[in-house]
């Protein structure tokens, strides 16, 4: 019997903090392990220090398979606890994060390394016994090492040849063959979560919009959903429809850009050059709607910062048809070109079982045939009323990740057209009242990469006491590392692009 069955919460539902069951470590572990072994997921796992900072309360956001909701569970730890990771791979990065932030050691964690290379938020020494005066240098740490005569190590980054974000990659290779890839990030750590406590204030929404620049709309909707739930503020259907449009436009721009970049990585020029331009066309549609190509200023707590008028709706529908026609022409070339398919197929393959055990989300999971989509599993906003088909493909390779993108482009275009041609009447924005004190809410949004999970806990005065953000990249980076096993090192850029994960979304 699981202790949370009768307390199942839904996406964007607020609970009183004292309703969250606080159990001892044994029960906590058992529940987490039971849920994940049964095909459930660990959406989030994080620590919140007690007022005296002596103990840290660990919160787990758990979702049993096909339950449509989630449960919150908490336990108190002091300096160490038996790690979950050996039995539940999904907890890996979460436990490393907890160790780094709060100096709590998950004992028996097989690969306990820092995540973002910052000082512990609590205590005199951190989980690795380093004192406040000891220097912490980014990514200077132990790496998994393969030894042997013919083995060589290739280190890539943090400075890359293209205009991309910084990250460090270590390959253990035998000739061209990659035996192991270890990814080390943290260069983009800005301390966003900590900067949010005490809010919401005028800066909060801007933190959300710049948290991961290419997922501006996704993260901002997640934030708005959370504070609206905490404030008990209902959003008009019109605003929810526009949010849906904004979210899908973001998906379209990124998917189109990625399909072009995938073509570019195999040196296939036609699709690469056309998709580069077409991505801009989608972004310009967002700009037409709200004045910002990335949708900044569009989504606001209580609704939408900018309303749409019928003239602009018309123009957006018109443009979407034209752009979609071009995207179709450019992308379908990929599937018809044998030399491209030879590169895409059977490159960077992940199995559904691995995807499930690592807790992959978003299109990386869907490309393994796993029906993992917040819009389907935990619908909120407009997706409660309009069903988005879940695009999956079963091969788990680069082709699958490309093809799922293409399927989603089709679905998103249809969705946008439908919404824009029949926007409901209503206010674009409603006033957001004060947040409920001592409450907690979990807000999930299917960003273009995958599941975005924001957990907000308020204090006794209704201010943000703890804000936990989980970007889809946080789950998926390990998926990329695993996809590279026994691949050619020359295929890394292609595999990397097929995931196209966020560095700053991970580093926060």
């Amino acid at each position: 019997m699981s202790p949370y069955k009768d307390r199942l919460l839904f996406n964007g539902e607020t609970a009183r903090l004292d309703q969250v069951p606080v159990t001892d470590m044994t029960d906590f572990r058992e529940t987490v392990l039971m849920t994940t072994e049964g095909g459930g997921r660990l959406l989030s796992l994080f620590g919140v220090p007690a007022a005296n900072a002596k103990t840290v309360r660990l919160y787990a956001v758990l979702s049993a398979a096909d339950s449509g909701g989630y449960a919150l569970l908490a336990t108190d730890v002091v300096d160490q606890y038996p790690a979950l990771t050996p039995e539940c791979a999904q907890a890996n990065l979460f436990e490393r994060e907890i160790a780094e932030q709060w100096g709590v050691v998950p004992e028996g964690h097989p690969w306990l390394k820092p995540v973002r290379y910052h000082r512990a938020y609590r205590g005199k020494t951190d989980a690795w016994g380093r004192r406040a005066a000891d220097p912490i240098e980014p990514c200077v740490t132990n790496y998994f090492n393969v030894e042997g005569e013919e083995v060589h190590e290739v280190a890539v980054g943090p400075v890359h040849a293209g205009i991309i974000e910084p990250g460090h990659f270590r390959f253990q290779c035998n000739g061209e063959n990659v035996m192991h890839l270890e990814i080390s990030l943290g260069y983009q750590h800005r301390g966003i979560e900590r900067a949010l406590s005490g809010g919401p204030n005028a800066r909060t929404v801007h933190f959300m919009e710049t948290l991961a620049g290419d997922t501006t709309v996704g993260h901002t909707i997640a934030y708005c959903q959370a504070v609206e739930s905490l404030a008990g503020c209902g959003v008009s259907v019109r605003a929810e429809e526009m949010r849906g449009v904004a979210l899908e436009l973001e998906r379209l721009a990124n998917h189109t850009g990625d399909l072009g970049a995938l073509a570019g990585d195999v040196g296939y020029l036609p699709t690469a050059s056309f998709c580069g331009r077409l991505r801009g066309d989608w972004l310009n549609m967002t700009a037409l709607a709200c004045g910002s190509r990335f949708g900044r200023g569009w989504v606001r707590p209580g609704g939408m910062g900018v309303d749409l008028d019928p003239v602009r709706c018309e123009e957006m529908i018109e443009r979407s048809e034209k752009v979609f026609r071009d995207v179709k022409g450019a992308v379908e070339l990929l599937w018809d070109t044998p030399s491209v398919m030879a590169r895409f197929e059977e490159t960077g393959t992940l199995t559904p079982a691995l995807s499930e055990s690592l807790g992959l989300v978003g299109l990386a999971a869907r490309a393994c045939g796993v029906r993992r989509d917040v819009r389907f599993e935990y619908p909120s906003g407009i997706f409660r009323f309009f069903n988005m088909p879940v695009a999956t493909w079963h091969t788990g390779d680069v082709f699958a990740r490309a093809y799922v993108r293409w399927e989603e482009v089709n679905h998103s275009v249809a969705f946008i057209r439908e919404r824009l041609s029949s926007l409901s009447e209503g206010p674009a924005r409603r006033e957001l009242g004060p947040l409920a004190p001592n409450a907690v809410t979990v807000s999930l949004v299917e960003g273009w990469r995958g599941e975005i999970c924001h957990t907000v806990i308020t204090d006794s005065e209704g201010r943000i006491a703890a804000y936990k953000i989980v970007d889809p990249s946080f789950h998926n980076w390990l998926g990329l590392a695993m996809a590279l096993r026994n691949q050619q090192i020359s295929d890394f850029p292609l595999c990397n692009k097929s995931f196209n994960l966020s560095y700053c979304g991970h580093d926060l």
Binding site: V154, E176, Y268, F274, R343, D491
Partner: protein, 303 residues
């Protein structure tokens, strides 16, 4: 008549970077872009020649010798290459072997310079380059040997001018096989798609470009110019086989050969615009295919 070898050699020196411009322009056309100017390569060379060079402290004289030796080799190769029905600037019996191995020496020094940096990327690039050229070399050599057999001469300067339409009518299939093999060698040796991608910036996938990552300024200008000349030399040989037009007027023959080179560059642009790069594992198969093609041509001629 004696002026033509000198004029052709000078023409090669001056117009080699233009071929890169033609390739890029063709690719831009296919992509619906305006593209960089046709003369961009000249501006790049000019810019690089006016820069200083930065040398890593771990490198030795080998690193600095790489670009110089490479350029010297390719200059000699250009002097050995006949063009448009005229003999080359210099030639002797057996110079086709020298031509093949001049490229070998050029590669050897580029690889040494790459290894000298101690960088993992450059090591990988060097290993790939050596592996692939070990397969491209026999295809090249066998192809030239087949042409030598057709014309009964063992010097580039006499065999290429001797090629004409009657050879095509008598040994057409063999020459076509040689041309096909040499086209693959041409793409591989000049690091073009489907073997290498000259436009990529991704160190992990590059072959030739990654070996020269650490070179800058005039050294890099030498490398770029050397690569352009190499494109010219191999292109001149290939178009010399494919289009042995002999009008009897040296000027017209040269002009036709030059047009053929430009067309070849455009063809490279078309190939690059219409297919993706091969997976690195599959590249040897393509090159072995080229060896088989020129081998087959040779066997056909021995019959």
């Amino acid at each position: 008549m004696t002026l033509f070898p000198i004029i052709n050699f000078l023409l090669a020196l001056v117009s080699a970077p233009l071929l890169l411009g033609v390739i890029n322009k063709t690719k831009a056309l296919f992509a619906g872009r305006r593209g960089q100017p046709v003369l961009q390569a000249y501006s790049d060379l000019w810019k690089l020649l006016h820069k200083g060079a930065v040398y890593s402290r771990t490198t030795t004289w080998v690193f600095r010798a790489g670009p110089v030796v490479g350029l010297a080799c390719v200059l000699v190769a250009a002097a050995l290459t006949p063009f448009g029905g005229a003999p080359a600037l210099m030639g002797f019996s057996g110079d086709l072997l020298l031509l093949v191995y001049l490229f070998g020496v050029m590669r050897f020094f580029t690889v040494l310079a790459a290894l000298d940096t101690g960088s993992a990327f450059e090591g990988m690039g060097a290993s790939r380059e050596v592996q692939f050229s070990a397969l491209a070399e026999p295809a090249f050599l066998l192809g030239l040997a087949a042409v030598a057999h057709v014309t009964g001469s063992f010097s580039l300067s006499t065999m290429f001018p001797a090629l004409d339409a009657t050879d095509w009518s008598q040994a057409g299939p063999a020459l076509l096989l040689v041309a096909a093999a040499l086209f693959i060698v041409f793409l591989a040796e000049n690091s073009r798609i489907p073997v290498d991608d000259p436009d990529t910036h991704l160190e992990l996938t590059m072959i030739h470009e990654v070996m020269v990552l650490d070179h800058g300024g005039p050294d890099f200008a030498f490398i770029l110019y050397g690569a352009a000349l190499k494109l010219w030399v191999l292109g001149a040989l290939l178009s010399g086989i494919l289009l042995p037009v002999r009008t009897g007027f040296g000027v017209i023959d040269s002009a036709i050969a030059w047009a053929a080179l430009v067309a070849l560059a455009a063809a490279v642009g078309v190939v690059e615009s219409s297919m993706a790069r091969l997976r690195l594992l599959r590249v040897p198969r393509l090159l072995v295919g080229a060896v088989l093609l020129s081998g087959l041509a040779f066997v056909l001629l021995l019959r």
